[in-house]
């Protein structure tokens, strides 16, 4: 046991105590002192019970927690996959082919600042409250960061590396696959990560505004019934899934992006 490790451990304890203090204060303020009404902020024990109960109970929103998660994840995956499949090639084409860049870039620059959330009513008018509507919202949330990052990833390819490839007689197409794409990979990957975050946000907004299932829907039912324990369980679930996703991305990044990203 050396000195540095001991100091590190000390801070770990402080973190632990801080977490416990947070829960303690929360418990004290709600369950013991009753500073706020229970419909506004339930005590932590109540939140945990509700969380556990939601695994097998369908009240009040008509589905268990896992069913809600699956409903949300299903839509998110659908929109996300489409967004990635279309976004990355578009971005790469924009970065690699001059004509495409000239034509698409201005249009894209105009579309980029539109928050996907603003499109929700359009989709609801078109498709009603349906899976397509949400999937398209998520598609938009995904496709934009994918295009931005793969475009600038390709654009930032080191010109010297391209010249080196050229002197070895690589065709333009070979240069793309052997130099430009690999060097853009970290950037593209970062785009995938950003896209995941923004599509998750788009999904929640879509489910709050018009949905009949999913975590966002569960939260809005909680709000309508003044069941803040349900709302908090929903928010925590979103947080936990968010953490899981980012851990998954960390692992994937380690596996795929060898050589690491330049920072």
């Amino acid at each position: 046991m050396n000195t540095a490790k001991r100091i590190n451990r000390k801070y770990k304890y402080i973190s632990l105590i801080s977490m416990l203090a947070f829960l303690g204060i929360w418990y004290l303020a709600t369950a013991v002192l009753k500073l706020v009404p229970a419909y506004s902020l339930p005590d932590p024990v109540k939140v945990i019970t509700t969380f556990v109960q939601k695994f097998y109970m369908k009240v009040p929103d008509g589905a268990t927690l896992l069913q809600n998660i699956w409903a949300s994840v299903k839509v998110a995956m659908l929109g996300y996959v489409f967004g990635v499949v279309i976004g990355i090639p578009t971005g790469v084409a924009m970065g690699w082919i001059k004509a495409v860049e000239k034509i698409v870039r201005p249009v894209f620059d105009f579309i980029k600042p539109i928050p996907p959330i603003a499109l929700i009513p359009v989709m609801i008018v078109f498709f009603g409250i349906s899976l397509q509507a949400k999937a398209i919202i998520i598609f938009f949330s995904t496709v934009i960061p994918c295009i931005v990052n793969s475009y600038s990833g390709i654009k930032q390819t080191n010109q010297i590396h391209l010249w080196v490839a050229q002197t070895f007689g690589a065709t333009r197409r070979q240069q793309l696959f052997t130099v430009a794409l690999p060097s853009a990979l970290p950037m593209i990957f970062a785009g995938l990560r950003v896209a995941m975050g923004s599509s998750w946000m788009g999904l929640v907004a879509a489910e709050l505004l018009g949905s009949t299932s999913g975590i966002g829907y569960m939260i809005s039912v909680g709000r309508a019934l003044l069941r803040s324990d349900i709302i908090i369980v929903g928010i925590l679930t979103l947080g936990i899934i968010g953490i899981l996703i980012s851990v998954m991305f960390d692992l994937l990044e380690k596996l795929l992006v060898r050589g690491g990203s330049e920072k």
Partner: protein
Amino acid sequence: MKKSSIKQKAGTILLPAVGFVAILVIWWLLVSFTRIGLLLPTPLEVLKRFIYFLGNPIGKAFTLPMHLLISLRRVLTGFCIASVAGIIVGISMGRFKPIEAIVRPIFELVRPIPGVAWIPLAIVWFGIGETAKTFIIFMGGFVNIVVNTYAGARHVDERLMGVAYMLGASKIQAFFRVVLPSCVPYIFAGMQVGLSTCWMAVLAAEMVSSFEGVGWVIIAGQDINDMAQIFVGIIAIAVMGLLLAAFMRFMERILCRWRERGA
């Protein structure tokens, strides 16, 4: 020589125009000759409506610019509070180990929750007034700004701190002359992301519960099935987003002048 430059100019003006014209034409064709026309207005109708709303009220009281200003004021209020709080929290977490140990676990819990997920809770807590909206917008921006500022504060060059102390700086002087300036680029990155998240959050908040603002314009359009009004709202948002982003880039240029090479 001259010929090629004319050709080049034509390229930079003509090709982008091709993109926009193509989109407008497709839009117009779709509306005129397919059943989508039942739902979607022509580009010309949208433009007309946009101009009309510049001087005439949407809903009861406000013209389009007024709605924009209302949303803008909300965003700026929440964003400014988020910036100040985010910078303070981020820097104190990055610079003081005990504070990091205390705050970080709680922050890590909040971080992965999408900003819009706070909307129902905010409404339960604060009703549907301005406080709830400010809170939602705050949560949207805060997380991004803390994450970036924290990274910046941790990257402050310790040797440079040593230089400052060795030249006679007090802790406070070292903070304002070394820590803060070296965090500025990170803070700015965070504020840029934060601003666009705040903009999303205000939209979502206004769409869920509000009687004015651009988000309301859009959702009111959905309620009366008026697609042109929805589009007017979306375009207004895009323009505003572009302006805000440009403003942030301008500020960054001024504050981070020292990072640019060249005379």
